[in-house]
């Protein structure tokens, strides 16, 4: 027994000795972080994230955590933040606002006070907005509710910075696209069908409706809602279609767009009704979930779904950031599962890259980690312009708190030799899955370039 113990200790010691010796790899040179003017070696910077890991929408959070972990490993192995190592510190709130509050209290009262944190949902942002300002802690988020980022009047930028455009701006951007393609969408009437709640109803505002009208797009005044557990939403979809809707816009994710698509396909309306949605609808989860919902052309019902895609996507292999992430995902043991190769995993990576850049800039300015506090980070962020791994562009100058560029894209499925998109079920690529079903490979085809979104906050510049 003792012999093994001695051996074990010896092995551990050798491990410890060998580790620091192993040569540190360098970052690829296309990642243009600010040059380090201070050396932070030996210190740690926590990436604090609290969100709904076990609640209703957990399936979109888990890849985010995997993304954090992989990206942190990657960057730490390549110098971290000027030598400082990042550590992941996350807590589960189960989608319960009182747990969010408790987690926030816990983190915000730590010594030293966190200088930045990562939030999860629109509702969390709305809850914590004032408190973050009061406590002087900036936060990153990937949710675009006006109230969370800009307050009730839409004009008071807080300390929360979003990596995606406001949901209402995305809706406006979508109307712009529809209005500009009148030959494809003659006399467009949009029916808004979504989940109830802060996230689901975020884009259905008077400003957005007015803006859409100005683009020649009618939005039905009555929106329909359904729950994530709704078995069948035929009635809701028919209500909208009966009122003349030719486009159904949904601000949901994962099972939400699939439910809408299922009802449309079941009703045989695929050719007359266009499904569209927020940036989360163009996600792997939607493509994979719809594999049991097949339309008349043999492709999943969500084929042709139009949505916002304010990020670079997995299929854009010529982009170095996507290349890098794909390489890491492929080289994992086992390789990253298909359901984890979604938008949240990419966001996890981009947020870690943002951390590196934000802290480098801040440390350079204040000259050391100890001097970095929330106010210092906020100062960096409030005039921050960066493109994390080239996945999307941020420019937080002049009180902007969200990503202001967006593009419209279509969800398609790959054809058999992966040379393009499938036109029907017969030429589509299908991967046999362990559960006996076949999965189609969802790909996202951008149809517009990145362009600035309209500003549709209450009192925003583009509100007609």
């Amino acid at each position: 027994m003792r012999k093994y113990l001695v051996l074990l200790i010896l092995a551990a010691l050798t491990g410890l000795l060998v580790l620091p010796v192993s040569a540190q790899e360098a970052l690829p040179d296309w990642i243009e972080h600010s040059a380090c003017e201070v050396d932070l070696t030996g210190s740690t910077i926590p990436i604090i994230h609290f969100g709904d890991i076990s609640g209703s929408f957990a399936f979109i959070t888990q890849p985010l955590l995997v993304g954090f972990a992989d990206a942190i490993d990657y960057f730490n192995a390549r110098g971290g933040i000027c030598g400082a190592t990042m550590i992941q510190d996350n807590r589960d709130t189960g989608g319960d606002l009182s747990q969010t509050q408790a987690a926030y209290d816990d983190y915000s009262s730590r010594e030293p006070k966190p200088s930045m944190m990562v939030l999860y949902a629109s509702a969390d942002a709305e809850l914590l907005r004032e408190q973050l300002i009061e406590d002087g802690i900036p936060a990153l988020i990937s949710a675009g509710s006006v109230e969370g980022l800009y307050g009730e009047d839409g004009q008071s930028p807080g300390w929360i910075y979003a990596a995606n455009p406001l949901y209402v701006d995305q809706f406006g951007n979508f109307c712009e696209y529809i209005g500009a393609n009148a030959e494809q969408f003659p006399a467009p009437v949009v029916g808004y069908i979504s989940w109830p709640g802060a996230f689901g109803e975020a884009a259905f505002t008077p400003e957005a409706i007015a803006y859409c009208a100005a683009q020649g797009v009618t939005v039905l005044p009555e929106n329909e809602s359904f729950l994530p557990i709704s078995t069948d939403i035929t009635t809701q979809v028919q209500n909208l279609v009966d009122q003349g809707a030719t486009i159904l816009y949904t601000n949901t994710l994962a099972s939400g767009p699939v439910a809408v698509a299922r009802a449309v396909v079941d009703l045989g309306l695929e050719d007359t009704v266009q499904i569209a949605g927020v940036n989360w609808t163009l996600d792997t989860s939607v493509g994979l979930l719809s594999r049991t919902v097949i339309g008349a052309d043999g492709l999943p019902a969500v084929d042709g779904l139009i949505g916002s895609m304010p990020f670079r996507w997995w299929t854009e292999r010529d982009q170095p950031g996507i290349q890098l992430i794909t390489e890491v995902a492929d080289s994992k043991e086992p390789p990253l599962e298909p359901q984890n190769r979604n938008i949240a995993y990419l966001l996890g990576w981009s947020i870690v890259d943002l951390y590196v850049e934000i802290y480098t800039q801040t440390a350079n300015r204040v000259g050391g980690l100890d001097a970095i506090d929330g106010a210092a980070v906020n100062e960096t962020l409030s005039n921050f312009s960066y493109s994390p791994l080239g996945l999307y562009d941020l420019n937080f100058a002049d009180g902007v708190r969200d990503a202001v560029t967006n593009r419209i894209a279509i969800m398609r499925f790959a054809n058999a030799d992966m040379s393009g998109v499938a036109t029907s079920g017969s030429d589509a690529l299908t991967l046999p899955l362990a559960d006996g079903t076949t999965a189609f490979l969802p790909i996202v085809v951008p149809v517009t370039e990145f362009e600035e979104t309209p500003d549709l906050r209450p009192g925003g510049a583009d509100v007609p």
Partner: protein, 370 residues
Amino acid sequence: MSANIRPSGVFDTSYGQDISINRTRGDKWLSNGLLIALLLVPLLTAEGPLGISLVPQLWIGLIIRIAIFAIAVQGLNILIGYTGQISLGHAAFMAVGAYTSAILARELGMSFWLALPLSALFTGGVGLIFGLPSLRVKGFYLAMATLAAQFIIPWILRYPLEGITGGSRPLEVPAPSLFGLSFAHENAMFYIIIPLAVIMALAARNIARTRVGRAFVSVRDNDLAAELLGINVFSYKLQAFFLSALYAGVAGCLLAFESNSLSLDKFLLDRSIEMLAMLVIGGAGFPLGPLFGVAFVNLLTQNIIPSIIPSVKGVLPSLFPFLNPINVDAALSPLLFGLALMVFLIIAPRGLAHRWEILKISWKLRPYSH
């Protein structure tokens, strides 16, 4: 039962002594001392006026939350613990209180001090309406009738009243102020919430000792017998619903003004069920039950379990290699909470306050415990 037990040698010599809550001088010093100590807590935090961080700032938020929910659960205790009427709609009543006060403050510019009692009374009235089925409906059926409140009230707030409640969007609530003094900081809110919680708790304690309280208990124990004794069962049931909703209204109002932001997501069914759990854990029908239950559940879910998770997280996947570490991370908080609750229910099915009473009696009677 326990109320009449005093240490040997202590006798009541007047009626006043007999009905006093603090029966001995020791009790009195203890309870007053505890209250004063509690009120001193915010002064000792880093953000307090003295600037000494003897007490972590975290405690203030924790104590405030416990106090607010203790008020709400106190109301539930009147309804369930004393009167025996189950309610699954308590969070909805809190929503009524919160939204009424917020709207009074926002739309009519009413001050917090006026909005608080008005919203409490209004909530009481709403409670009366949903108490009406208790005339005929009992037990689980009543629980489900109150569950209807849990769905109908938020629906009304969300859709027909969207114009003033903002529907699904959050509502900003102004901070209370008094003579130009703003209570925006949580250390300041502490001095509104804690005294109010103490007053509400004392009121509940005293209601239980009055004629009304005794009538409640008789309705709980056997409503038919109570009716035969000449107690107007329906009237007392409604009174219990009114009082219970009133407490919920106060708690909801405090919650709205404490966090300055209001959204319907804070008052979902989970919250109602959680409050029921808090009451049962603390001990239904005991004056101290709500406090114990709220404190226990809050500490468990917000402090104890999160502090255990990191250590368990590393161990479990190595014990069971088929588990995915990411899944373990997410699963631990419901798992541990469920486990703790189960163990606890098996050990103390009548609640913490029941244990506490037993402990207190054996302490007072020491060394002769018989």
